[in-house]
């Protein structure tokens, strides 16, 4: 029950999905559509996994008083506020609450305000830290120590300059005596269109074979790591 049934289910659903791909008949397409609909219904529940893990870790942190445990309360406050305002749309029918200006659900102005003024700026800022780190890494770590690294750096510099209008401007001013215009952006485009394309294609071909081989192993029950430990 704990391992065999899931393996059989995985095999059956996998094989049916493969076969429907080759059978255009409406019966087969109906089956295919049915399974897609079922998995559409099942997949939202998977959120439970992520949320449970998160709550568990922060709960452990609070109960064990590990370093900075107080901040775990902030995580809980964040979750509770969003859920309390976003989920109970039925409370919109309670006239007392709407009289004092409270509204609920994902379209509620409070929910949108929190999203636009708290979540969006933090998420965007968090990632923009990378601009600083990339600059510092460029200075402190990106050295042409091997042939490979040199090739990588030179390509990177050309693409970086080709990506911005100032690249062409510099070329057209400094190299005005040559018969060629806009060489920086042309070079960038050529690199992306040619050697970059071949390298990517090589990677795609290799990776896709890997994906297919893993899918085959999963359907046949050879690869079982997704079942986790006992």
């Amino acid at each position: 029950m704990t391992r065999q049934v899931p393996l059989v289910l995985c095999f059956l659903f996998g094989i049916v999905m493969i076969l429907t791909e080759f059978v255009p008949h409406s019966r087969s397409q109906g089956l295919y559509q049915g399974i897609v609909n079922w998995s559409l219904i099942i997949s939202p529940f998977a959120l439970v996994l992520a949320v449970a893990t998160l709550i568990q870790t922060h709960w452990t942190r609070i109960s064990r008083h590990t370093e900075h445990w107080q901040y775990s309360y902030v995580v809980f406050i964040g979750i509770i506020i969003m859920v309390l305002i976003g989920v109970p749309t039925f409370l919109n029918n309670v006239s007392f609450l709407s009289k004092i200006g409270l509204s609920f659900g994902p379209k509620s102005p409070i929910f949108e305000w929190l999203f636009n003024n708290v979540q969006v700026p933090m998420d965007a800022t968090m990632f923009s830290l990378l601009a600083f780190f990339i600059a510092s890494a460029a200075y402190r770590a990106f050295r042409a120590r091997t042939f490979e690294a040199t090739l990588l750096l030179i390509t990177a510099l050309i693409v970086m300059m080709g990506n911005v209008p100032i690249g062409d401007l510099i070329w057209n001013t400094v190299m005005a005596w040559t018969p060629w215009d806009d060489v920086t952006s042309t070079a960038r485009q050529w690199i992306l269109d040619n050697p970059n394309l071949s390298a990517r294609r090589g990677i795609i071909l290799g990776v896709s074979l890997g994906v297919i081989s893993q899918s085959i192993r999963i359907i046949l029950g050879i690869e079982r790591s997704y079942l986790g430990g006992d």
Binding site: F132, M160, S185
Partner: protein, 281 residues
């Protein structure tokens, strides 16, 4: 001295990069933008659509990376509304839906487009691949109602649209791996035409699909946004951004070159020192 230069406090570099963005934002400059072929292809494709055609816009980016795709979406929507091409908004990423809603409202107000007639936002459904596949047979099977909860059957512009057969193009604005998923499932299985507008991070890996025609066009990052804005003659955030970006790139290129010069000089010196010490032994 050289040692010191090589191990400079990273906070000095942080300040330099901040200034390279702040100053051009305060004192904007206008640099000439050279267009590139992938963006031009996308523009030509949309421009050739007759009025009344429908494109699908997939907002597959979260708040963390909205800087690049948002101006692209804006430029393309303006182009479509001007041409009378209708837009269906959809997203596979959970935190994109509120962003998409805000952006669509903004552009439609500016262009006088009407919800339900010129554009519609279907919203989000969990399950990426299944959502794409489901819409291939019947859009209403996945989105029986739009983002606001209104049944699709009550939305006028959805009257003649059942699945991808009635959609002329899917433009995926992506900050992750969604473009490949759209190609694998919507293009291969249902023959939907696909174009992409992606953040800089994933630009390079789009090119194999561009060459095979699996992508009909591509907007590469801020540059793509700026190019599209140039093509529709409405410079906005993308153009401002790419001009500012110029100075930051210049700084980073400078830093890489400088540090490599220091590295080589240093290496040569230390090689010299070690060979001397060998002689002394």
């Amino acid at each position: 001295m050289l040692e010191k230069l090589m191990n400079i406090d990273r906070r000095i570099i942080f300040i330099a990069i901040a200034l390279s963005v702040i100053i051009p934002t305060l004192l904007p400059v206008n640099l000439p933008i050279t267009g590139s072929e992938p963006t031009q292809k996308l523009y030509d494709y949309i421009d050739a659509l007759p009025p009344g055609s429908t494109i699908m816009l997939a907002f597959d980016y979260g708040p963390s990376s909205l800087a690049e795709p948002a101006p692209m979406a804006e430029a393309v929507m303006k182009h479509c509304f001007d041409k009378g091409v209708r837009i269906i908004g959809v997203t596979l990423i959970v935190d994109a839906v509120t962003l998409a809603d805000k952006l669509m409202q903004k552009v439609s107000e500016e262009k006088g487009a009407v919800y339900g007639k010129d554009y519609v936002l279907l919203g989000f459904r969990p399950g990426v691949t299944q959502v794409i596949l489901g819409m291939g047979t019947e859009i209403a099977g996945v989105f029986e109602s739009d983002y606001t909860g209104k049944p699709l059957s009550e939305i006028p512009m959805m009257a003649n649209i059942t699945n991808y057969d009635q959609i002329d193009l899917l433009l995926d604005l992506s900050a992750g791996s969604t473009v490949e998923i759209w190609i694998t499932y919507a293009n291969v299985k249902y023959g939907l035409q696909i174009a992409a507008g992606v953040t800089g991070v994933i630009v390079s890996q789009m090119y194999p699909y561009l060459q095979t025609g699996q992508l009909v066009g591509l907007m590469p990052g801020f540059l793509g946004a700026a190019e599209y804005e140039k093509l529709i003659n409405a410079p906005a955030k993308g153009t401002e951004g790419i001009n500012t970006e110029s100075f930051a790139h210049l700084l980073i290129v400078g830093l890489v070159i400088m540090s490599n010069i220091a590295f080589f000089v240093h290496q040569r010196q230390s090689v010299g020192a070690s060979s001397r010490s060998q002689r002394e032994e």
